[in-house]
């Protein structure tokens, strides 16, 4: 990265590996009859997730939204679900997603996402297909393990992730040597995220695919909640070593429940003092019209390429990361 600013950071052979990866992904879905689609990068609606900060841009012209405000997508989830409701059948998309402020060894604020939806699959069946895609892309038959969120926390930390109170989670973090002074006012979910990212992730083996599934209902995002005792979100994540590669759901179908979650997130944004974002009424209309039962997943292609070429920093696989954009 000491080369002159105009030059790419990724080496040419890495860029060739990127092109080969894209071709392999497209081939994987072509063989399975999954349709490639494109949806808008700019939308009048935005994610309401308070943990995500979308880029905002302006449009002047016919059909301009209020104040001309358009949001760059943080993921293509909402418009792809509208296609599913319109009867598209199985679909995938390779696109750029944008998340403001996210910059680090595994983050660039603009990155490439692979997202796909499988009507008729549940999240368990989709985990199987994710494993096949990753093994195909990496050209390696890596072993696959599936862990429930509860089992993983019990195994690594000896705690009950579903019932332990916040101060017990905080104490466990300190016992594992994590300084927690900068965590003032953290929610229970933030403590769980801290333990997962600071203690468990670094201990995950790098030679296999680890699926974590059945998340606490408080971390459901857009997943269905199964009314077990305790209730669990039908959500999964894929890790290879400490690298989070994919997040998937057995998708929420109920428009009323979806509206409740949007509203709760909008309230959380207001509480945090971040500007409220317009919730996607067209997604709610699509859900009301009826979306088939579907599992869906988003996978970070830059990170998959990092694994493929053995990169330690996402900048090694990008021609022009943020600082050279």
């Amino acid at each position: 990265m000491d080369s002159p600013d105009w030059r790419p950071v990724a080496r040419m052979e890495t860029l060739r590996a990127r092109a080969a990866l894209m071709a392999a992904v497209r081939d994987f879905f072509a063989q399975r009859g999954v349709l490639e689609v494109e949806t808008p990068l700019c939308s009048r609606y935005a994610t309401t997730d308070p943990a995500l900060d979308p880029f905002v841009t302006r449009y002047a012209g016919p059909h301009a939204p209020p104040q001309g405000t358009l949001y760059l997508q943080t993921s293509p989830e909402f418009p792809m679900k509208r296609l599913l409701a319109a009867g598209s059948g199985p679909i995938y998309q390779i696109c750029k997603a944008f998340r403001n402020g996210e910059y680090g060894r595994r983050h660039n604020p603009e990155f490439t996402l692979l997202e796909w939806y499988r009507p008729g699959f549940d999240h368990r069946r989709l985990m199987g297909e994710v494993a096949e895609l990753v093994q195909t892309a990496l050209g390696a038959a890596m072993p696959v393990e599936r862990w429930t969120y509860a089992d993983l926390f019990h195994h690594h930390l000896g705690i009950d992730a579903f019932h332990a109170p916040s101060d017990a989670l905080a104490m466990r973090a300190r016992e594992f040597g994590v300084d927690t002074e900068g965590m003032a006012g953290a929610s229970r979910n933030a403590w769980l995220d801290l333990l997962l990212s600071h203690v468990i992730e670094p201990r995950l083996p790098p030679d296999r695919l680890i699926f974590i599934h059945d998340y606490p209902a408080s971390q459901a995002a857009l997943a269905r909640i199964r009314p077990d005792d305790p209730p669990v979100a039908e959500r999964f994540e894929l890790y290879v070593g400490p690298m989070e590669l994919a997040n998937g759901f057995n998708e929420l179908l109920d428009p009323q429940e979806q509206r409740r979650r949007f509203r709760a997130e909008q309230r959380a944004c207001t509480m945090a003092g971040t500007p409220e974002r317009p919730l996607d009424e067209r997604l709610l209309q699509a859900l009301a019209a009826g979306m088939p039962a579907t599992a869906g997943v988003a996978l970070g292609l830059d990170r998959l390429l990092m694994l493929k070429v053995g990169a330690r920093d996402i900048r090694e696989v990008l021609a022009f990361p943020l600082e050279r954009a």
């Binding site: 994590v178 900068g182 953290a186 994540e237 989070e244």
Partner: protein, 190 residues
């Protein structure tokens, strides 16, 4: 009170931690795709040199430390304090033993050091990477051995002791690398 938000964190940023000025060595952004983002930072306490690790929820703020690194000329010591001068403004600064650290072993008057100032007072002194010092005492060494293979201890005018080749003698000036504390060469005349 000036503060930095976690999204301004980067290597070299100076912040206050538990009442001490610290410099960020490394800032790692950690964020699950869904959920809380964290900044995991490694810092060096500029007073003690100790390295510590802290985790912040992204969006938290930390007090800025008024820390400045500047080149100052060393003037003299009275045994208790060491006196420096800014060669441009002629302003004088006083460093105590704790701020001097290892630098006392290497510097003599006129040397230009990189001094870390916190609220205007020295808390750290870096000597020049290379200094030239005169040997005040060393064994004459074995006659005829010029290989310099084993070497011998030599005391320098500042009191520091370094290993030198056998052929180097008392009264000679030598060049020393202050980062490793090792002999580099005989100092060239002039």
């Amino acid at each position: 009170m000036a503060t930095y938000s976690t999204n301004e964190f980067k290597g070299g940023l100076k912040v206050m931690i538990d009442g001490d000025p610290c410099s960020i060595i490394e800032n790692e952004f950690v964020k699950p795709g869904k959920g809380q983002a964290f900044n995991r930072v490694k810092l060096r306490n500029l007073k003690t040199g100790r390295v510590l690790e802290k985790t912040y929820k992204s969006g938290e703020s930390v007090e800025a430390a008024d820390v400045l690194e500047t080149d100052l000329q060393y003037l003299y010591t009275d045994g208790e304090y060491w006196y420096f001068m800014d060669p441009e403004s002629f302003e004088q600064y006083t460093a105590d033993k704790a701020a001097m650290g290892d630098a006392v072993k290497w510097i003599k008057d006129q040397d230009v050091c990189t001094v870390t100032l916190w609220n205007g007072s020295p808390i750290g002194v870096e000597p020049p990477n290379f200094v030239i010092l005169t040997i005040t005492e060393t064994d004459p060494g074995l006659k005829g051995d010029t290989s310099g293979g084993g070497g011998k201890p030599a005391t320098l005018e500042t009191g520091a002791v370094v290993r030198v080749p056998l052929f180097v003698q008392t009264g000679e000036a030598i060049k020393v690398d202050t980062r490793s504390g090792e002999y580099v060469s005989r100092a060239k005349e002039g």
